[in-house]
Symmetry: C2
Subunit: 273 residues, 2 copies
C-alpha cells in the first residue's frame, strides 16, 4: 500500500489527525525506567501502545536515538509498530538533505534499515537530492517548507521573485510531485503561512508540528491546513504528550494527553459525512 | 585547540589544502576486503594511513556508515585518526538541520559520541538551529551555501532581494560568526560562485567538494577560493582517491591519487613566504 493511501485510510478509520512524536530523552524518563538497560525501547513502545488508538501516525525523531547510540532500539521500535499496529504509518523525522549519490545511502538507511513509511527531508539541495527517496514507490517524503522555530524566518521568509521562499518551496514540491509521494512540513506556530501552503499545495498531506510544548495554535492550524474533507494534515505533538508525566504513570498520562489532543483537533475539523 | 586554529596549523605544517572524503561503499571494496567482517573500518583506516601525509583533513560521510549500520566503525575510525594522526581534523559530513531542542541531540551525536572536530550543517532552519553546535567552543561548523550538485540551483540560485540565496546565506554566516567557528560549503563545480562567496566571507574557511569524480574545476576553484596567504580552503575529493583502484592495491593507489591531487591544488596557490 502506498504511503498516501495508508495515511488516508488511517485518517478515516481512526477519526484522528494526531501524530505522536517519539523524542526519547532518558533524562526525562521515570526513575524506575532510567535504570532499565533497554529504557529507550521500553519507553517508546509503552507510549505507542498507550496512544495508538488516538493517532494517525508516529514520528520518531532520529536525533534522540543517534545521540544515545540507540540505532538498534529505533530499528526494533519500528518493527514493533509494524507488527502490533500495522495500520499506523511511521514517519522518521530525519531532515536529511544531500546530493544524489549520498542520498541513495540515506534512503537505504531510512527505508531499508529502519523500514519507515515516510521521512522528512530538507529542500536546500533541490530536486536531485529528493529523487533517490522517490525510487521507493510505496514510501512518502515530507519536505521542510515553513518550520515551527523562530529561526525559520532567516531563510524561509525571504522575498524570492515576488513570493516568500517557503511559498516557492511549496510550489516546487507540487511540480516535483509527479509520483504522489510528497508532502510538506509547516509549523503550527504559523497558521497564516499554513493556509497559504494549503492554497498552493492542493491536497498534498501536510505534517504540522509545533502544537503542545512549542505553543502552536491548534484551532488556527486545523482550520488553515485541513482539506475540504476535514483531513489532509498530520498534526504532531511530542513532548506535551510523551512527558505528560515523568513518573511511573507516564504511559497512562500520555494516553490521556493524546486523547485530549485528538479531541481538540477534531473540534475544528469540517464535519465529515 | 580551536578547530579554526587546528586547520590553519595543518595547512601550514603539511603544505596541503586537500581533504580526503571517506565514503565507504562495500560494493566497491576489493574482493578480499569484502570478506572481512570489519571491512568498513579496515578500508577507512587503510585510506587514512595511506593518504595522511597529503591531507589537511578527513571528511567521513555519515550516510555511508548509517546505510550499513556501521556507527561503531565510524566511532572507532575517529578514535583511530585522533590517536595516530592527531594534527589532522575530522569533518563529519552530516548536513544536519533541525530546531534547537533536536539540534542539541545532533550536536551531542557529532561532538560527543563521534568526537568529530567539525560538522556540515544545512542553513534552512536559520540561526537557532546552528547555535547548539556553537556551544562546543573548540569545534567547527561548515554551513551549506552553494552545493556541487546540479539541483543546487533550484533554491540556492533564486533571486532574493537583489542577490542570490547562496549569497544571502554567506552574508548571514558572516553575521552569525561571532565565535569564529563557522565556515561555508561551496562546490568546486561553480568557481564563479566560489569567488563571490570568498568576497563576501572574508577569511572564513571554505569546504570545497566536487573535484575528482564530480568533475569540479581545480584550477578555477583554488584561484577563486583561496585567501591572500594561499590557504583558506579545504578541497575535498572522495571517490577519485579512495576508489583509485578496486583491487588489493587500493591504499597505494589512493596514496598516489592523493599526492597528485595535493600537487595539482598547490600548483594554483599563491606563493607563500
Amino acid at each position: 500500500m502506498k504511503f498516501d493511501a495508508m495515511l488516508k485510510a488511517r485518517w478515516g478509520a481512526a477519526d484522528t489527525l494526531l501524530c505522536v512524536g517519539l523524542d526519547p530523552d532518558p533524562a526525562r524518563f521515570s526513575e524506575r525506567l532510567q535504570h532499565s538497560p533497554d529504557s529507550i525501547y521500553q519507553f517508546c513502545t509503552s507510549i505507542v501502545d498507550a496512544t495508538a488508538d488516538f493517532v494517525c501516525a508516529f514520528k520518531p525523531q532520529i536525533a534522540y536515538f543517534a545521540s544515545a547510540g540507540a540505532e538498534d532500539a529505533l530499528q526494533r521500535l519500528i518493527v514493533y509498530v509494524r507488527a502490533t499496529h500495522p495500520a499506523i504509518p511511521v514517519i522518521l523525522d530525519a531532515k536529511r538533505g544531500d546530493m544524489a549519490s549520498t542520498a541513495q545511502h540515506y534512503a537505504r538507511e531510512v527505508f531499508e534499515r529502519y523500514d519507515a513509511h515516510a521521512v522528512t527531508l530538507s529542500p536546500y539541495l533541490g530536486f536531485d537530492s529528493i529523487e533517490p527517496y522517490l525510487a521507493y514507490p510505496d514510501r512518502g517524503v515530507f519536505l521542510l517548507c515553513r518550520t515551527s522555530n523562530a529561526g525559520g524566518d532567516d531563510l524561509q521568509m525571504l522575498q524570492v521573485e515576488g513570493e516568500r521562499l517557503y511559498e516557492r518551496v511549496a510550489r516546487l514540491a507540487v511540480e516535483w510531485n509527479r509520483s504522489g509521494q510528497l508532502g510538506l512540513v509547516v509549523g503550527a506556530t504559523y497558521p497564516r503561512e499554513l493556509a497559504r501552503v494549503r492554497a498552493l499545495a492542493g491536497e498534498m498531506p501536510l505534517l504540522v508540528p509545533g502544537i503542545g510544548a512549542q505553543g502552536g495554535d491548534v484551532e488556527g492550524s486545523v482550520k488553515a491546513g485541513q482539506t475540504a474533507d476535514g483531513a489532509g494534515i498530520v498534526v504532531n505533538s511530542s513532548r506535551a504528550i510523551i512527558y505528560a508525566s515523568g513518573n511511573g504513570d507516564f504511559a497512562e498520562a500520555a494516553r490521556h494527553a493524546a486523547q485530549k489532543a485528538r479531541d481538540e483537533i477534531n473540534r475544528y475539523r469540517f464535519a465529515t459525512a
